[in-house]
Amino acid sequence: MDLGFGETGSLLIEQPEAGIRPPRMPSAEGRLVARLRQADHASFEEVVEQYEAKVYGLARGLTRNDEDAQDAVQETFLSVFKNVKSFKGDSSLSTWIYRITVNAALMKMRRRRYDDRTVPIDEAMPTFDEDGHRVATLPDWHPRADEMLLNKEMGGHLRRAIAELEVDYRSALIMRDQEGLSNEEVAATLGLTVAAVKSRLHRARIFVRERIKLYMLQGR
């Protein structure tokens, strides 16, 4: 299913598509979930400690706004706390938490209606001649590119390129390349097949690389 803004305001990602077998819950995780269900105070602190960095990274990358990301993180963990009794273990705990995070972040974005910095992904895709060779009117990469990528200003351009990705592609890139989730975890979180995740990731990576090339060559 595509990420998007539901008309009714209901949660946007609910169930993985049929055919995706969720990973088996490891026993340590099963024990943690049992303690959460019993409202064991220490278990909630353990969950926050274990997941807050990835949850924040995901929320911040999606919303592109500190305040919204912080609110989304807080809402995510409060939702985990309130709803853990209804967590059936059909997915791993981490997948469930990330799914709540994505939904919380998307709701923030929907309220702000500020998803207007994105650039249509097809605009950045390379073009080819009829023989399948690259059509490039500009040099394909700056000669000092490696050095420039490590430069602080170029780091800002790289963040900007990621922020310009449409949300479906941005979510895949942030989860996989920024936060280091596996394709399977991204698929289970977003309710997609692994093939769909790979396809989005592929286009997102090319988009970011092409945008960076433009910034470098235009000196922006």
Binding site: A53, D140, W141, L149
Partner: protein
């Protein structure tokens, strides 16, 4: 012989080392004589390396503390 377009279609899988030895060999044969694609692969790999190594956001400590405080309050209110 693969074209640049074929290589681009497999770029992400190639970077993730997610293809058969045979396909990889074909892509590498193309890369050996196409400097444009060689630059494409190299630059995309470096860009993603920077994203994966330096781009995760650090959660501000006060946010972390606030979350725990809210959860403790909620638990005590039960």
């Amino acid at each position: 012989m693969l074209s640049c377009q074929d290589l681009l279609a497999d770029l992400s899988e190639y970077l993730d080392d997610g293809m058969t030895v045979e396909v990889r060999r074909e892509l590498e044969a193309h890369l050996a004589h196409c400097s444009t694609c060689e630059v494409l692969v190299d630059s995309t790999r470096k860009t993603l390396k920077i994203v994966s190594e330096n781009f995760s956001y650090e959660i501000p400590p006060e946010v972390s503390g606030r979350i725990l405080a809210r959860i403790r309050t909620a638990l005590e209110d039960r």
